[in-house]
């Protein structure tokens, strides 16, 4: 009887000495079993010669680095992105309010000379009030109340005209002061609107991310 079932173990030198001697004795007399053994040997060699597949990444866990380092890198990644976003956002905010205030300030200044010319005898006050776009509202209001207290009738008529002519500029100043008020209230946090702050933070977080990444890659 052919010892087919033992041929692989014989090939692998995994038989007991008695079994091996028995198979060897049979092989000496059986060409078929020698052929089978050669086929199995060739098969084993082919299996051993298969090309070595390569992993696409390192599979060794970096157990020598602190466990918090990987989460910290993740944090640094997101923080870098967030800081970059805030940098862009604050840069946009810092640019557009300036353009907006410039346009609102230009509008009363342009309308003012026409109103002053309509005041006639108050020509000297006209250009002055036309130029008083920037003074804050309280100053204008106190001027107005002082003038009203000591005004002659003719002066009062002029004053009414002045008030009318000064109206747009005063309103503009009040608008500006109203606009400025919230900014003045949030002054302690105004630095948050600085693009430079976020740019510096973005660079700092990116540097942190880079350093941690190198540490994680090293073994």
């Amino acid at each position: 009887m052919h010892p087919f079932g033992d041929l692989s173990a014989y090939l692998d030198n995994a038989l007991s000495s008695e079994a091996r001697a028995s198979v060897q004795a049979h092989l000496d007399t059986c060409a078929l079993c020698r052929t089978r053994l050669a086929e199995l040997r060739g098969t084993a060699r082919l299996i051993a010669a298969l090309p070595m597949p390569m992993p696409s990444r390192s599979l060794v866990p970096r157990v020598s680095v602190p466990v918090w380092l990987a989460p910290l890198r993740t944090f640094a990644t997101f923080a870098t992105g967030a800081a970059l976003f805030l940098f862009l956002a604050s840069a946009v905010i810092a640019y557009f309010p300036r353009a907006q205030s410039a346009s609102t300030a230009a509008a009363p200044a342009a309308s003012q000379p026409a109103a002053s010319f309509g005041a006639g005898g108050a020509a000297s006050a006209g250009p002055q009030s036309g130029l008083t776009v920037t003074p804050p509202a309280p100053v204008v209001a106190s001027d107005r109340s002082a003038a009203a207290a000591s005004a002659t009738p003719s002066d009062a008529a002029k004053e009414v005209t002045r008030q009318d002519s000064a109206g747009p500029s005063a309103n503009a100043a009040e608008d500006r002061s109203r606009r400025l008020t919230p900014t003045a209230e949030s002054a302690p946090f105004a630095f948050l609107l600085s693009p430079w702050l976020w740019l510096v933070l973005a660079i700092a977080f990116a540097a942190l991310w880079f350093v941690i990444g190198r540490r994680l890659r090293s073994t």
Partner: protein, 197 residues
Amino acid sequence: MRPEPGRASDALLDRARNGDARAFEQLALDIERPLYRHAARMLGHDDAEDVVQDALLSAWKSLATFEGTSFRAWVFRIVTNRALDRLRSRKRRPELPLDPPSESDDSVSWAEPVAPGPELADLAADREALRVVEDALATIPADQRAALLLRDVEGFAYDEIAIITSTEIGTVKSRIHRGRVAVRNVLISRGWKGSSG
């Protein structure tokens, strides 16, 4: 079996057991590619990477409980078990049983050559032959594939494979023989023949 790298490896193992993470990483680096090779041929590329990474992390966590002398065989055991578990859970109805019904190894069918062809021993450099071998390996039961790869590729002895696959040495002998004959049959059916030497 291929010998362990030697005393340097033993020293690394001692240091790793004592909590030296860098020593463990060096040990793992030495067997990373063979582990991946084994897992990839058991599972395919994507799952193999996950299995090897998880197995190495598990090995690090349980290194204190490892009492054997062969770190390589121990990690191969973890990888093989995880690969077989994943294969079992991959399909509710496996195309091939992990362990086919038992029959005598002497009754394993041997395909006959259909036509004269090149000798198997001369085909190690033939890409076509190697592709046929890879395809054939993919069609045999996973338990046979694991045992055959551990023997023919990784060079483990039968008793080591018995420990790695948590089975009897007689079962290892049977799996290797059946798997090898199955691959041989595929090659023979493709027109190749073995030398009679």
